[in-house]
Assembly symmetry: C2
Homo-oligomer: 284 residues x 2
């Protein structure tokens, strides 16, 4: 962490004050979480952020996946680094309206595992908020570490008064076991569940054009009904997402007419409506 | 944890002694890990265990995935519980040669997230070894939590002198980023890398029978060459595995002639050879 030592704070009260100030300038804070890894949480986070800037919003994307930060790879900004200025640290600018910070930017070597003990990890995440110039934002998307352990919980607790959490799942039961845990987890965070997204939902064979439900179907809808939380939509299993995630070319821009892009747009529209309504109620 | 309070130890030296004694009766200890979740680590662990018992070995399977324990669901033993006897606690018997313990058996409610802080989790895992009657085993398969954080490292440190670790990945680059971390992680554990398994490798359309590399291809082989570690084999993306994992019917038994079953058998054969050779060298 010493590359940013110039701006590091040792005074806890001062850090909390800075976190509170910086969060105060952000209208909506949304967590993206999943009960287990590998369901596409980071891909979903990145594409929601991109869909939001396409709608004209200013967005921050904070990749808090400490052990497997993949946002920089997905957005093609692996070689970028935040810049330390006199006013603080500037997150990486992906476009004029999209600021990104990721644990990956702090790692010297992309092949090294992060084996930090708990307190150091939390200090790093707090610094993501306290010492970075996020500025005035419409949305901050927080990509939490996968799972429902103490790590995502501790991170969530750093950012109080959020708009809630989006839970990403795949359709099959084994993954849904962990969605049920996620929903209970969000309730324990005292945050609302904005809704469930069912990712990798149905695959269309590029040869014969038939659809195969590789990971089964409709598990997300079923769980949202069981738990009485909104269902935000399905995203198909699409080799183009894998390809664009690996090449660092933003999927939303690359293939603007596909069903997958449409799915992300519709989901983001629902998220905006949900969070705007909540905001209006609070302002009243 | 109080359901097992009768057998809980409070004396640390006594616990370490018991762990050492119990591990001494197990010929081979193998970790199964993945740099990120959702790559099928638990499915692979369960099917390797099943392939080993089909070869006549006695096997223990320890599901240490604290936040998303899915082994009981995969093996259809969700409603079973370990039995406390005068001699200690008996792991769940799946077949006469397969004993299973999972964090899932300790949870009252399958929908509840485990939000235990670090020390309590480690105490639970230690108890899995110290207080359970694993008896004489040929193999203990340890399904670690996903990722390369302090949690899998702490668990790995409870079981010294292992035969090494099997690293499970999917073929695409984003997942491979975390494999590189895993390999470095295993080296930090001072354990050998037994080899890499590439899961979800190629999908054959059930309608037109053409193969589509949904998650790209050959990433696992490439990484094994880069890092000079053995490549154990590819397992196809197979809706039948999803189906059998969800229904709790063992895949290895259910569909004994598929390419997927053959892939698991060939991989297990390589693991046996690798660990037997290491054992012979040590005995000499």
């Amino acid at each position: 962490m010493n590359i940013y030592s110039k701006h590091m704070q040792t005074n806890n009260i001062e850090i909390e004050q800075k976190i509170s100030n910086n969060l105060g300038k952000i209208k909506h804070k949304i967590f993206v979480l999943s009960g287990k890894g590998g369901v596409g949480k980071s891909t979903v986070s990145a594409n929601i952020a991109l869909a939001l800037i396409q709608k004209g919003y200013s967005v921050g994307l904070m990749d808090c996946d400490i052990h497997g930060p993949s946002i920089p790879k997905i957005l093609g900004i692996e070689d970028k680094r935040p810049i330390s200025t006199e006013k603080g640290i500037e997150p990486v600018l992906v476009s004029p309206k999209l600021k990104v910070m990721s644990m990956a930017f702090l790692l010297q070597d992309k092949d090294s595992p992060v084996i930090w003990r708990g307190p150091l990890k939390m200090a790093a995440i707090k610094q993501f908020i306290s010492d970075f110039n996020w500025g005035d934002l419409d949305y901050l998307i927080v990509d939490l570490p996968p799972g429902t352990g103490d790590e995502p919980l501790s991170i969530a607790q750093i950012i109080p008064k959020s708009d809630g959490a989006v839970v990403v799942t795949t359709p099959q039961d084994v993954a849904l076991l962990s969605v049920r845990k996620s929903i209970n987890f969000v309730k324990q965070m005292n945050a609302p569940v904005i809704g469930i997204i069912e990712n990798m939902s149905g695959f269309t064979c590029p040869h014969c054009k038939k659809t195969i439900d590789i990971f089964k179907k409709d598990g997300g809808i079923k769980t949202s009904k069981d738990f009485n939380v909104p269902f935000l939509g399905k995203i198909p299993l699409d080799p183009k997402i894998v390809e664009s995630g690996d090449s660092g070319k933003s999927f939303m821009v690359k293939d603007s007419k596909s069903n997958t892009v449409k799915a992300f747009e519709a989901i983001t529209e629902k998220i905006v409506k949900n969070t705007e309504n909540r905001h209006k109620k609070e302002v009243k």
